[in-house]
């Protein structure tokens, strides 16, 4: 396939006169498709607010329950708040992930995406970026809520970096597994069962790294966790890129 221009069937014995197809530079077209899918998800969500409202409500309720149930001194708060942060991100994120592809399947629009002449991985990254944006919005709201209710400043650059890295890994593997479970009858139960063991390295790294940052420990205490998160992200993105074709294939 040429980078730009016209292409014809590769099979020499093609007997049929063929309509020529204009093909744009593949890399550009790929990222155009990714951006289009993410734009569509964000646009539809801004209008319906189905997903983000349920995620926000869940986040608010969870944080309120934790803040009322745990009567902690300032030291205990420093070590507990990161656990609360990440547990809430994971469970609120699960709400979004479980509906992301399931709603496409239920409304029949998944076939519309699969019929488009785009790489399957472009579909994956588009959905993943959409999910990531929702999770990051929730994480940001959550950090503000925890800052107010736990009286600890969570909005720090390093902590934000950890949240972004952790959310990338979580939504990457979450989007892949939600695509795998989307055809199952009991997909709402299946997704957490599949996701929790796989997402554990990310949660552990994120909680440990966040705690070290919050307690203003030296860089050797939080840097390995940041590196681990980065490596997990790279591995999950590569694995998802390689596997998504097979996941959506009928």
């Amino acid at each position: 396939m040429s980078a730009q221009g016209e292409t014809t069937p590769t099979t020499a014995e093609a007997a049929v006169p063929v309509r020529r197809v204009k093909v744009r530079r593949p890399v550009t077209a790929y990222w155009h498709a990714v951006a289009a899918i993410a734009w569509k998800d964000v646009r539809a969500e801004i209008r319906s607010r189905e997903l983000i409202n349920s995620m926000l409500l869940f986040t608010l309720m969870t944080v309120m329950i934790f803040s009322l149930a745990l009567e902690l001194d300032s030291n205990a708060r420093q070590t507990t708040v990161t656990g609360v942060l990440w547990v809430t991100i994971v469970f609120a994120g699960l709400l979004g992930l479980s509906r992301s592809l399931a709603s496409e399947k239920d409304k029949g629009s998944l076939d519309g995406l699969l019929l488009a002449p785009i790489a399957r991985s472009a579909l994956f990254f588009g959905k993943m970026i959409g999910n990531l944006l929702f999770v990051l919005v929730i994480a940001l709201v959550l950090m503000v809520l925890l800052t107010v209710l736990f009286n600890i400043t969570l909005l720090r650059p390093l902590l934000l970096l950890l949240v972004v890295l952790g959310s990338i890994g979580f939504t990457t593997i979450g989007t892949l597994l939600s695509s795998m479970s989307v055809h199952a009858r009991s997909r709402e139960t299946l997704l957490p069962i599949l996701l929790m063991p796989v997402v554990l390295p990310i949660v552990i790294s994120a909680v440990r790294g966040s705690t070290a940052v919050l307690n203003e420990m030296p860089s050797q205490d939080w840097l390995p966790w940041v590196q681990l998160l980065f490596m997990a992200d790279v591995i999950y993105i590569a694995a998802s890129y390689a596997l998504f074709d097979y996941v959506v294939e009928e």
Partner: protein
């Protein structure tokens, strides 16, 4: 059984087999559809019509056999085949929280229509299906007939050479179905190759150049529409599919 002699076609299916688990749905199916031909595919539920269209749409892989559309081979050259396909099914493949215009912008981007042509093309197809004045309304406020017209606009947006219509009349009232008839006649003009599955024998016969009946995963009957007496079609259909109905 009437054999239809066709020249090497836009769509060429040879010895196509599809098995789900241990259940064969398509059993060595052969089919050729010429460029610009409108083929109606009839058959009872479970005869393999939708499975065949899903394979032609590169949504499902054949278990065995070869499929070629416009010279491109499936599933190996699926990306090129998809560029040439427009699909309308009983599900609209649209987003009800987006407006008609936003839906078409989204699909125009997926089909990589040049940015400078998008607005004009979207306007043209929406005008053609009579929805231009409702272009900025959210799709969930549309009636079933309007949604199906928008689905046709989506399917022809990228000017595909082949249209696959999987029971497009499902859920439509008489007026909406009559409007869809006109639209399908219009989109079929201009050299498009069309395959439509339907349970509506009369309508399928009226629209098509050729009618085929699928039974037990094979083409059991295939003839030009002009060679079929529309009044005799129901009994012919019952004769051809009788074995499948009984089993």
């Amino acid at each position: 059984m009437v054999e239809h002699e066709a020249a090497p076609g836009m769509i060429e299916v040879h010895n196509l087999t599809k098995v789900f688990g241990v259940n064969p749905v398509l059993r060595g199916l052969d089919l050729t559809v010429a460029r610009g031909e409108f083929l109606t595919l009839l058959g009872p539920n479970g005869s393999g019509k939708s499975t065949l269209l899903r394979i032609l749409g590169a949504l499902s892989r054949p278990t065995a056999g070869s499929v070629r559309i416009g010279g491109w081979e499936l599933p190996r050259e699926a990306d090129f085949v998809r560029r040439q396909l427009g699909v309308v099914s009983h599900q609209p493949l649209l987003y009800d929280n987006l407006t008609a215009e936003e839906n078409l912008i989204f699909f125009a981007r997926l089909y990589d229509l040049p940015a400078e042509q998008r607005a004009g093309r979207i306007r043209a197809v929406l005008q053609r299906v009579g929805l231009w004045r409702r272009a900025r309304d959210v799709v969930r406020t549309y009636s079933r007939g309007m949604v199906q017209r928008l689905a046709i606009a989506r399917a022809v947006l990228h000017d595909p050479a082949v249209l696959l219509l999987d029971e497009p009349y499902t859920g439509l009232d008489q007026d909406a179905a009559a409007l869809l008839d006109d639209l399908l006649r219009e989109v079929a003009i201009g050299g498009r190759t069309v395959i439509m599955t339907t349970h509506d024998l009369r309508r399928g016969h009226l629209l098509a150049d050729r009618v085929a009946i699928l039974s037990r995963g094979q083409i059991a009957f295939d003839a030009p529409s002009s060679a079929i007496d529309p009044d005799a079609l129901p009994s012919l259909y019952a004769d051809v599919t009788g074995a499948a109905t009984i089993s």
